[in-house]
């Protein structure tokens, strides 16, 4: 018989144990291991992105025999829940709790901002594997922070160039009212208006509202040549489907940065046919690195890699270059950072190198979604660099 008192006692004991958790942490760090911290969303809407990044990083290390520059790599993972309010806490958990040597992550821009702040204060080698928030490689840039993904406006800029090339003149932009959306639209406007394009109207709706019907009616009444939209995940999927449902796709082509279709290619079904996007990666990219990467990744996880996987993969490539330059010693930070800044290597996405603010200079490809797959249509922008406004690195 388990009586109430006993349950309470047990609960008390369990409570005491859990109380101790943040303070007592088993440490297994050995001399030769190098601990890489992964601050990624493992739950919630962004979890698939986190998973892709995580998998590619593990795959890379595995292919290197579990070692980079002679150091055995172990991963420490923290679920950031895409929750900015807990972000500094979670970053600290990796930095001071797990005492990682390298910090990597994350997806959500707000979380990345917090992470970058902690990383900047600590000086720890840090690799941003997705979040495109501009500040990280502009005003808040730091010698120890490197991004292997993109800047929000960079992708918008590339999309704008592609749309100009396709002869689009008048555009309505649609996005959520939040920083990523606004930065993306700003980048798009920069290249698009510079090339003679005209913005008819900017439509925003509150994040993460997905009631699109009313704004679609407005788009229809404005009759633009095309729509530029920035959404991601479930919201993007619903937008694509609603857009087709309103028959807008027949008259007004839908454009956007690649995030609009990434991860929802299959789910979008016929509604997604004809959506054109620009991104720094496409699955069918024809280069040896990508062929091998795609084959290995599919073999390991039974699933084709996506842009997030590539960003994780390249983070490890970049890390390896830094580590090798420092002889595996993360304390030799100047050597490590110098090598990483100058790094240039072939990536599955094509040639990869970093700009002065540690944001990638890379190709952007024009893609069209058709039959559940993003088809490669050509290069939208070649070796496009992001603005470095406000960054004092040189």
């Amino acid at each position: 018989m388990i009586d109430r008192r006993r349950i309470i006692t047990l609960a008390g004991a369990a409570g005491a144990t859990s109380l101790a958790a943040p303070f007592v942490r088993p440490s297994w760090a050995q001399a030769n291991t190098l601990k890489v911290g992964l601050l990624l969303p493992y739950s919630g809407t962004y979890a698939p992105l986190g998973e892709a990044i995580n998998r590619a990083m593990e795959l890379y290390v595995k292919q290197q025999g579990g070692k980079l520059a002679g150091r055995e790599i172990v991963f420490a993972k923290v679920d950031d829940e895409s929750e900015p309010a807990k972000a500094t806490e979670n970053t600290t958990k990796l930095i001071s709790g797990e005492k990682v040597d390298i910090l990597t992550g994350t997806v959500h821009s707000g979380v990345a901002m917090a992470m970058a702040k902690m990383a900047k204060e600590d000086g720890l080698p840090t690799l941003i594997t997705n979040a495109g928030v501009e500040a990280i490689t502009r005003g808040a840039c730091a010698p120890n922070i490197f991004r292997t993904s993109f800047g929000n406006s960079q992708v918008g800029e590339a999309t704008g160039l592609a749309m100009l090339k396709a002869g689009v003149k008048n555009v309505v932009t649609v996005t959520w009212k939040y920083a990523a959306g606004e930065e993306s639209v700003a980048g798009f406007k920069k290249s698009f208006t510079a090339g003679g394009g005209k913005i008819i109207k900017d439509i925003t709706l509150p994040f993460p509202d997905v009631e699109f019907q009313s704004i679609l009616a407005e788009v229809g009444s404005l009759k633009p040549d095309a729509v530029y939209s920035f959404f991601a995940g479930g919201g993007a999927l619903k937008f694509i489907k609603d857009y087709a449902g309103a028959k807008l796709n027949e008259k007004i082509p839908l454009w956007g940065p690649g995030f609009l279709t990434d991860g929802v290619e299959k789910a979008a079904g016929p509604a997604g046919d004809g959506v054109k996007t620009a991104l720094h990666y496409v699955e069918s990219l024809d280069n040896p690195e990508n062929k091998k990467f795609a084959a290995d990744f599919s073999a390991a996880y039974g699933k084709a890699p996506d842009v997030y996987a590539v960003q994780g993969w390249d983070a490890m490539q970049l890390l390896r270059i830094g580590l090798e330059a420092a002889g595996g010693d993360t304390k030799k930070r100047p050597e490590m950072f110098a090598a990483m800044s100058k790094a240039s290597f072939p990536s599955p996405r094509g040639p990869f190198k970093l700009g002065t603010s540690h944001n990638p200079i890379q190709n952007f490809y024009l893609r069209e979604l058709r039959g559940g797959e993003n088809k490669y249509l050509g290069i939208a922008a070649e070796m496009l660099a992001d603005d470095t406004t406000g960054c004092k690195l040189a």
Partner: protein, 592 residues
Amino acid sequence: MLKAPSPRALVLLACLLALFVALPFFVGPYGLKFATRLIVISIFVVSLDFLLGLGGLVSFGHAAFFGVGAYAVYFISSDEGAANAFLALGAGVGLAAVCALAIGAFACLTRGFYFIMVTLAAGQMMFSLFHDTDIAKGSDGAYINIKPDVTIAGHTLLDFDDRRSFFYVCLFFLIVALLALFWLARTPFGRIVQGLKANDARLSALGYDVYRAKLAAFVVSGAVAGLAGALFACIDGFVTPDLFAWRQSGLAIMMVVLGGAGTLFGPILGALAYISLEEALKTASLVGDFVSAHWRLGTGLTLVIAVLLSPDGLAGFLRAAPRVSRRTRAAPSRPPAAARKASTLATRTLSKTFGGLRAVDDVTVSFAPDLVHAIIGPNGAGKTTFTNLLSGALKPSAGEVLVDGKNVAGMPAHTIARRGVGRSFQRTNIFGAFTVEENCRLAAQAAHPAILRFVDARRSEDDATIAYALDVVGLSDRADALAGAMSNGEQRQLEIAMLIASGGSILVLDEPLAGMGPEETRRVVDLLRDLRRNHTIVLIEHDMDAVFAVADTLTVLALGRLIAHGSPDEVRRNGEVISAYLGGHAPQEAGA
């Protein structure tokens, strides 16, 4: 009323305090930061408990004040140099208080579930304000690059960047906040706040401005939440609109309930338990990969079990056994010398319509001082509506209510109460969660009904008033009984005691004898006769024997109209009255 923590709880709190004081010496930077966050969240949930647990006002938007407090530090900081720490924290408290005043001004108009929803909406609006606009860098959050410090003449005495000293700063503020709120709960103000939860209609009828009381509690609680927010911003120097999100408010409520609402210290245990549990379940090295991958499941189920096992939260396990103390007190026979507030009550062409129904129709009547006036009439005659008009619980559609010749019609209930009109309700209306003495003290305190009073300056005077009131109604030996656990009759007696203690000199009593046995009835009738010496009493009652035994005048209402008014003898002979109401029940005159 808030009880002091039990000895067991005190021991636990002392152990926790000792543990936290010693903590910086044996944990690493992460443990220290974790503990700092725990303490800051504790301040936040304690502030919420003051509002929710003591005041009964469930704010589902409390994170708004936490967030505003945090952003205040951002606003006051610059990249040029450290802001003054006092200024930064003060800004957090101040801005949160201002916001609480603005939001509360509207939210406090509503009650119950509607209050929950209005506060939720307010929180969401604050979220939108910071998320969608550029006032503080928008959705991705903002940095506080240089944390506040205390620098005097070039010497930095305290730097929030120093983790250890900042930890002690937070701990200091937690202790201060907890003690301050504890102290506050036991001041006259705190008594009123707890009265809000127990019975706000009664509070209003005693002469307190319930709206102001709610607002004051809301602002106090918001300000403390702002302090917590300001400290939170200083932990890492990063603020984000997500601090305002409804989930943060929901989490805070959850921690309060988990720990034990209405105890002030319980929520600290709740925060400790929840945050540690989540942390532990997420730590793979402690619980294994499977559990840590599904930590939500573990957390959710643990909470479910916690709710089902412990209805009173964690603090419920630390409750002291109820002590029965029987104090005997000297019963003064004379009423405390207090100026009589009012004598005469009258109405002039008073009417109240509900839709098409004229519940009270053109009633003009005057109640002279130092007499018992009974209002009788069949059910639905408008008697209760009439009393509600007299006490201000309802606003008249037309006509005047005159207290000593001054028209008070349309004034709020508490204003009329302050002018000396005390009323009892048809259904007994007391503070069930208070003891008899506490009920009376809240009533006695109403002689000076200011909300924001922090010192029992008139304690001895009030003591005398309470003792007198309890003696008059015969409850002197029940002073320490919990009012809600007393019999119906005793509660009625207590209600009258409260009217007396509050200094009401015109007493409007709605069926004070309902549900009383003959013996109790006789006691109350005697009491009314006794009170007549220096009170004007207006009585609604169906017990005709009692009415004829005690009343000096009778007023008969039927269908909202006054059909008779005069001495009992006159009314008894009135044919209209007999057919409308009394039937064969009018007691015969002696010897007739």
